[in-house]
């Protein structure tokens, strides 16, 4: 057993930390928030140059063959810094979906994403599907020379910054398909809005979008399996993001308790505040343990092991990060519920990520399903 980062990982972690410290800030975040923007093309290029887009993809598509832990290292730093750049949703998530789908056309698209020259977005969930990517009402009809898409994909993160949307739909016979829809396609409308962490998502309305048959990247069971696996990768990253955000909140709250005075003493001198901080500290420690567990055990095509590892981590961390966030606000008092201070923004980020691709309840239930299947998928 070894929880040490490799030298490469330490370098990656350091560079992510330093890059964000230098190029991102709370003021920048707030400006983007008020402007309704969650993207910056120069930062995107810089991140690509740092290798963040290529990081976890196979060398055959120009990637660096990095691991899930590598993804988590960056995600944790993004969470720590409140960064809303759509690295996860426009590069890692669609990229992993393409990798897991594994067809030639998917790989060609993945190569562009890994190179940082294209951005994607996964359009898999729908309003009536809760977190289940198998519940698809969007229809694809095939005619001789092409296909048409009808339906609405819901809360598609990063869609407005994507060049291509990876849309799941069902054929008349019920078969699932993954379709690459260019953002410029006729009949495609994006209704964009802000989401809870300050980043952006869209309702993707497909009104008879016509595409050549080659737009179909994959069909059959592999589609839903790949979406689930990509969501598991995302959840491993989300756990790390939650850890980064919760750790930052704990650090700020410790500092606040050390310095804020009421009744002539620092509030950190009150035993109840001390015990709150200890509870938060312990939760953060335990969360970190499960982040790495998920990073290591979740990096496998075996769906039983993977689902159990990811759901264990997400079920635990989504609860504990929310507890840390709530206590941080409570200890800060009034200032904690304002837009002025970063604490309230971390609070929202934690709320968002705790239920992004499944909250505790969802993942406890998935864990139970894993147990009932007794290791089989």
């Amino acid at each position: 057993m070894d929880f040490r980062l490799s030298d490469d990982q330490r370098l990656l972690d350091d560079s992510a930390s330093k890059y964000l410290a230098g190029q991102y800030s709370f003021d920048l975040y707030r400006k983007q928030l008020s402007d309704g923007i969650a993207f910056d093309s120069s930062r995107w290029s810089a991140m690509a140059e740092l290798g963040w887009m290529a990081l976890p993809f196979p060398e055959s598509v120009g990637g660096f063959g990095g691991s899930l832990v590598d993804i988590q290292l960056i995600a944790r730093r993004l969470g720590e810094r409140l960064c809303t750049d759509p690295w996860l949703t426009c590069a890692i998530l669609p990229g992993k979906l393409l990798e897991f789908v594994g067809t030639d056309s998917a790989k060609r698209l993945l190569a562009d994403i890994a190179a940082g020259t294209a951005r994607g977005a996964m359009a898999a969930l729908e309003t009536n599907g809760h977190y289940d990517p198998g519940l698809i009402a969007t229809r694809v009809t095939e005619s001789g020379d092409g296909i048409r898409l009808h339906g609405i994909k819901s809360v598609v993160f990063g869609a407005e910054y994507a060049h291509v949307l990876l849309v799941t739909a069902r054929a008349q016979n019920g078969e699932a398909m993954l379709v690459a829809v260019p953002s410029t396609a006729d009949g495609l409308t994006l209704n964009n809005y802000r989401v809870v962490d300050g980043s952006r998502a869209s309702e993707v309305v497909l009104s008879g979008v016509r595409l050549p048959a080659s737009a179909v990247l994959a069909r059959g069971r592999v589609v839903i399996d790949a979406v689930k696996r990509a969501m598991d990768v995302a959840n491993a990253a989300i756990c790390a993001d939650l850890l980064g955000a919760a750790s930052a909140m704990l650090k700020r709250t410790q500092e606040y308790a050390r310095t804020r005075k009421q009744f002539g003493v620092t509030i950190g001198s009150f035993q109840v505040i001390q015990h709150y901080l200890v509870d938060m500290f312990i939760e953060t420690q335990q969360s970190e343990s499960l982040v790495w567990m998920a990073g290591i055990l979740g990096d496998t095509p075996d769906c039983a092991d993977r689902e159990q590892a990811i759901s264990t981590a997400k079920a635990y961390i989504s609860r504990s990060a929310v507890l840390v966030a709530q206590k941080s606000v409570q200890i800060h008092g009034g200032i904690g519920v304002t837009e002025e201070l970063d604490i309230g923004h971390y609070f929202r980020r934690v709320t968002h990520h705790a239920q992004l691709f499944g909250d505790r309840d969802h993942h406890v239930q998935r864990y139970m399903a894993c147990q009932q299947r007794d290791g089989k998928c």
Binding site: G36, L125, T127, N128, G129, H130, Y131, D132, L135, S154, V155, N191, Y193, R194, V195, V196, A201, E203, K261, Q262, F263, G264, I267, F270, V272, I273, V322, Q326, V329, Q330, G333, G334, G336, V337, T338, E339, E340, G344, H345, F347, R348, T351, H352, A354, Q355, L356, D359, R360, D361, H362, Q365
Partner: protein
């Protein structure tokens, strides 16, 4: 023991319910059906509607312009108010400065101020907290120095809810910087249009503007605006803390919110069924309902004790703690049970069930519920003193 309303109370309930059905504006109801708060015009308009009916200052005795209701009637009124999707009245006038004025105020002060509160025409805010005096209110520094017929006020208040909507502010100010902390504090009424007052908005994490900083620079306040005598401010503030406890637990609104959550789950499809089909979701709702029942019947006991004219001790102090915890738990369940539908923020068009889209607002807003009016930790310190006889 008897948990039933009397025939008269049931008739009263029907009367109130009918009136609400006819008089709550559709726009107000639509907002609360989606878990949103009214804007200034809606809130003030609604309070004026209540004022015209004589149902705004519901806790007041008849001689001061209240309806002279019993505690049970007030409780029923609050239940029906929430059920109808109407917001609670802003507390600063009717629940706070009003009772202070008819208890401690001079004849002139009563004459000048009570009517405007009862009618809903004049709006108030509360100037208590300061940047370095939050939980430790007694350390406040805003100074009121006597200068002839005026006090000259200098200092800063913070967390002033609706200061930007208010005509008047009731303030705790320090009139004597020398004596022991609590003793130098006075209760002053300040016209918000007086020169020298600057309001700066504080934006809350629910995305809205409720709170403000209020700066006072050489603000001249006539001495007749002092309530009681100099140094009585702390006594008045303590009086307010133990006044009116029939609605502090927020039972009426929590009941409505749980009903709303159930409806939201039933209205939200999941595959061929709906979110309500999820037994674990139903269990979460059931556990909230059970907790609410405990709070509701504790509240009933407090209401009944009030009817009997009994003092309210530690028994009712728990109501605020449990009530705010439950409000937070309900909104957290709302956010979480909505799945990704609860993650949208500024969409104008519904993403699935619009009510889920807006759950985050109330969830974030209510983080303050365990902080304002004395944090729950401070409340517990106070109760502990009673329990341990300290």
């Amino acid at each position: 023991m008897n948990l039933e309303f009397t025939v008269e109370e049931l008739a009263f309930q029907r009367e109130v319910r009918e009136w609400f059905t006819e008089n709550v504006p559709a726009s107000l109801k639509a907002r609360s059906d989606n878990g949103q708060m009214p804007d200034k015009d809606e809130q003030h308009g609604w309070e004026q509607t209540l004022g015209k009916k004589g149902w705004l200052a519901v806790g007041w005795p008849a001689q001061h312009g209240g309806p002279g209701w019993t505690a049970t009637q007030r409780y029923i009124f609050d239940l029906e108010r929430a059920r109808a999707g109407a917001p609670p009245a802003s507390p600063f006038g009717v629940s706070m400065v009003g009772p202070v004025l008819y208890t401690f105020g001079s004849a002139d002060q009563k004459k000048r101020h009570l009517t405007g509160i009862v009618s809903g025409d004049v709006h108030w805010c509360q100037g208590y907290s300061e940047p370095n005096s939050g939980s430790d209110l007694a350390s406040l520094k805003t100074a009121a120095v006597r200068d002839g017929d005026h006090y000259v006020v200098n200092g800063q208040k913070i967390w002033t809810t609706q200061a930007h909507w208010a005509d008047w502010c009731f303030c705790l100010v320090r009139t004597d910087p020398v004596v022991k902390q609590q003793q130098g504090i006075s209760f002053l009424l300040i016209d918000m249009s007086t020169p020298g007052i600057e309001i700066r908005p504080i934006h809350s994490i629910d995305g809205h503007h409720h709170l403000n900083e209020v700066y006072f620079t050489d603000v001249r306040v006539p001495v007749e605006n002092l309530v009681g005598s100099e140094g009585m401010g702390w006594t008045i503030a303590k009086f307010l803390l133990t006044h009116e406890r029939t609605t502090i637990a927020g039972v009426a609104d929590s009941k409505r919110e749980i009903e709303r959550l159930k409806q939201m789950l039933k209205d939200t499809k999941q595959g061929s069924g709906c979110r309500w089909d999820d037994a674990f979701a139903r269990r979460r709702v059931a556990e909230l309902e059970i907790d609410l029942a405990a709070l509701e019947y504790t509240n009933f006991r407090t209401v009944a004790a009030t009817e009997e004219g009994k003092g309210l001790g530690a028994e009712s102090s728990g109501l605020k703690i449990k009530g705010t915890e439950l409000q937070q738990a309900i909104t957290q369940a709302m956010v979480e049970l909505g799945g990704h539908l609860s993650l949208t923020w500024d969409n104008d068009e519904p993403v699935g069930n619009f009510a889920f889209n807006r759950t985050r607002e109330r969830y974030n807003f209510l983080r303050a519920a365990t902080i304002y009016g004395g944090t729950n930790e401070i409340q517990k310190n106070v109760i502990a003193k009673m329990l341990l006889g300290l």
